[in-house]
Symmetry: C2
Subunit: 206 residues, 2 copies
C-alpha cells in the first residue's frame, strides 16, 4: 500500500484520541491546577486505559509538556494578533494581551512556568525557544521607538520589559499575595508601561 499518503482509519483514530487526551488534560489543569492532574483521571475521562496514555506521551511529563507547548502557541498567537501599525499602541497591546491571556488561563500559564521536570531531565528545547520568541515580541516596536539605540541593547530592554510585565501580572493574579488588586491591574499595567517608556525618553504624544 502507499505509505506516503492515505492515513488509515487507525491513524485517524489515534490522532483523534491524542487530541481528546490533550483536551481533557488541559481542561483539568485549567480548572483544578496542575497538581490535581492524575493519569488515571485522564484515562478514565477519555474512556481508555492508563497504558494508552503512556503509549501516546511516553510518560506523564510528556502529557503535561504537550499541554504546555500548546499553551505557549496559543499565547504567541494571541500576542501576534496585536496590531503593529503604531509601536506605542502595540506595546500597550502586548501587555494587555498578556494580561488577558493570563486572566483567562491562569492555571495553564502557571503550569508552563512552574512545572519542574522529574529528576534533572532537561527542559525541552522547543518550548524554551517558543517562550523566548514570545518574550521577544516587544522588540520590534521598541526598535521603532528607539531607532538610535544599539539594537542588541534594545533586545535586552524588550525582554526585561516583558519580564517585568510578567512579574506584575503573575503576582497580581495570584489570589494569595495580591501585590496589585486585580480589578486595577489592567489600568495599572498600562500606567507602568507608560512610566517605563517615559523613562526611556518616549512620550505619548511623540
Amino acid at each position: 500500500m502507499n505509505i506516503v499518503q492515505e492515513e488509515s482509519r487507525r491513524d485517524r483514530k489515534k490522532l483523534q484520541r491524542r487530541t481528546l487526551l490533550i483536551e481533557i488534560a488541559r481542561r483539568s489543569i485549567a480548572t483544578k491546577g496542575l497538581r490535581s492532574l492524575k493519569v488515571r483521571d485522564v484515562a478514565e475521562a477519555a474512556g481508555c486505559s492508563i497504558g494508552s496514555v503512556y503509549n501516546e506521551f511516553g510518560d506523564f511529563d510528556g502529557l503535561i509538556l504537550t499541554v504546555n507547548r500548546e499553551t505557549v502557541q496559543a499565547l504567541t498567537t494571541r500576542l501576534k494578533a496585536v496590531p503593529t501599525d503604531d509601536p506605542l499602541r502595540q506595546l500597550h497591546g502586548l501587555a494587555d494581551a498578556y494580561l488577558g491571556f493570563a486572566s483567562e488561563h491562569a492555571n495553564l500559564l502557571r503550569s508552563l512556568f512552574e512545572h519542574r521536570m522529574e529528576d534533572d531531565r532537561p527542559f525541552p528545547e522547543d518550548i524554551l525557544a517558543m517562550v523566548m520568541e514570545a518574550f521577544a515580541l516587544m522588540h520590534a516596536p521598541l526598535v521603532r521607538l528607539l531607532p538610535d539605540r544599539d539594537p542588541s541593547d534594545v533586545a535586552l530592554l524588550s525582554r526585561m520589559m516583558f519580564s517585568a510585565v510578567h512579574g506584575i501580572i503573575s503576582l497580581g493574579l495570584e489570589e494569595r499575595m495580591v501585590a496589585v488588586p486585580p480589578e486595577q491591574l489592567r489600568e495599572r499595567l498600562a500606567q507602568f508601561v507608560d512610566t517605563h517608556l517615559a523613562g526611556l525618553g518616549i512620550t505619548r504624544s511623540a
Copy 2:
C-alpha cells in the same frame, strides 16, 4: 511542677530535632529542588522515624511551609538591612539585595512562590502577610522621592515596582528561558530601576 518556665529535657530535645528536620529539608530543597524532597529521606537523614516528622509538622506541606516561612524571614531581614539614608540608593539596594538573595537561594525562593497546597487548602495567612510586607519595602523610599503624590498611589507603585523586579529576576535566574543573561543581570536590573524612576520624574542627580 512549674508549667510556665523550666523547659524540660523533653522540650529541649524536641526543639532540637525540629530545628534539625527543618535544616535538613531546607538543605535538600536548596540543592535538589522542592520536587525531590521526600519524607523518608528527611526522616532518615535526621535519624528518626517517619511518624516523628508528622508529629512535628502535621503533614508534608507543614514541613515545606515551615521552610518557606523561614525563607521569607531571611529575605526580609536581608532587605531591611539595606541602608535607608538615601532613598534612591535604597531602592537600588533593595533590588540588588533581592537579586543577591535570589541568586544564592534560587530553589528556596522558587519553593516559596511555586508551592501549591494539597487540594484547595488555603495558603497560610502569616506567610502571605510576610511576603506582602517584604514587597512593601520599596514604599518608604518612594514616598520620600515622591512627596507630592497620593500616598495610596505610591503604595501601589512600590508594589508594582517590586513585582517587576521580581519578574525580571525570577525569569533571569531560570537556567531555562534566560530572558536576561545572568552575568548582566545585576547591571541591567540597576538600569531598569533607573529608567523606571526617570519615568516617575526622578533623576539621579536630584
